[in-house]
Assembly symmetry: C2
Homo-oligomer: 192 residues x 2
């Protein structure tokens, strides 16, 4: 469906996102204005605001898709899947979505790591992902506290996998790293 | 050691904290000023700023003590303790500190739950607690990713225990709830 502005601004969203990440990396998030982003992308501020509520949203719009992918994966897991199986499949799916946008995700992470307010925002998004997964587990009949424990611990393992993915020079595949970390949870939590 | 202002303002910190929590509960955090808090406590704004950097800090100053208790417990755990044993002991100690201030902790939680910015702050504090525990585990010779996985998953379980502690009418003992949730992690993460 092509029409209206899109003739004049093909892939405006992608261009704005790329321009924003470049500027956040070069100058810092705080020092970048929406006017700067629009200019770098060769678009107007009006176009920017058609796609994003503010400059922070450029960094977080993808979270909705991750969120939906996780909840859907849990809802559609086979009846035989245990809670941790379902959560692992969900976080592998999330990892695959991030992996598809590997370069942008790395740039984004550098920007977030440099700004405590953005880090807080990122943590809130992760926490809400964990609650949504717990809710999806309860809808499969998983009881509390198992639903919350599995969702929260799974998200914790994903956080560890993600940090490794960002830091490691060999740049391993995120879905695989996520599965490895989730698999190690059981051993790591064994008591003497 | 009694001297200076303390003759005129015995337990000023405690009075300011109590006044702040009352006002945050009655009017909301945003609607309360430092002047309001000082007035309610029968103290001056100057005294407030001698104890707290800003009105948000009234809610978060206790986190440092929790943080230290956790790190110390891990450092002092017996050599025979596994990583999850050490993390469980640490989070029981944190639970005991919160339990000592049970009423204040409940009021505080209600205030934080009503304000997304405070929630983000709380999550950042929890995330930094998890990193500090991972670091304390590495200093005991625990390797990555086990150190981070154990610390993050333990913190996740503590979050679940804390939410139950806040919500349950019977008001069970937090250190015990924390241990129960930590104990259930291993079972909850078992794969088919």
């Amino acid at each position: 469906m092509i029409g209206g502005m899109s003739r004049w601004a093909p892939n405006a969203r992608g261009r704005l996102e790329q321009a924003a990440l470049e500027l956040y990396t070069e100058r810092g998030f705080e020092q970048t204005t929406v006017a700067d982003i629009a200019e770098r992308a060769g678009l107007t501020e009006r176009t920017f605001f058609r796609h994003f509520a503010d400059k922070r949203e450029v960094l977080f719009w993808g979270e909705t898709a991750l969120h939906e992918a996780c909840v859907e994966t849990i809802a559609n897991a086979p009846d035989s899947a245990t809670p941790i199986d379902a959560v692992t499949a969900a976080l592998e799916a999330a990892g695959a979505l991030i992996e598809e946008r590997r370069e942008l995700a790395h740039q984004r992470q550098t920007v977030i790591a440099a700004n405590p307010e953005l880090q807080e925002r990122e943590l809130l998004k992760l926490a809400s992902l964990a609650s949504a997964m717990a809710q999806a587990l309860r809808q499969r009949g998983v009881e509390e506290p198992t639903a919350s424990l599995t969702a929260e611990a799974g998200t914790a393992a994903f956080k560890v996998a993600f940090a490794r993915w960002v830091d490691e020079p060999e740049r391993r595949d995120l879905p695989r790293l996520a599965r490895e970390c989730l698999d190690q949870l059981h051993t790591a939590t064994a008591r003497t």
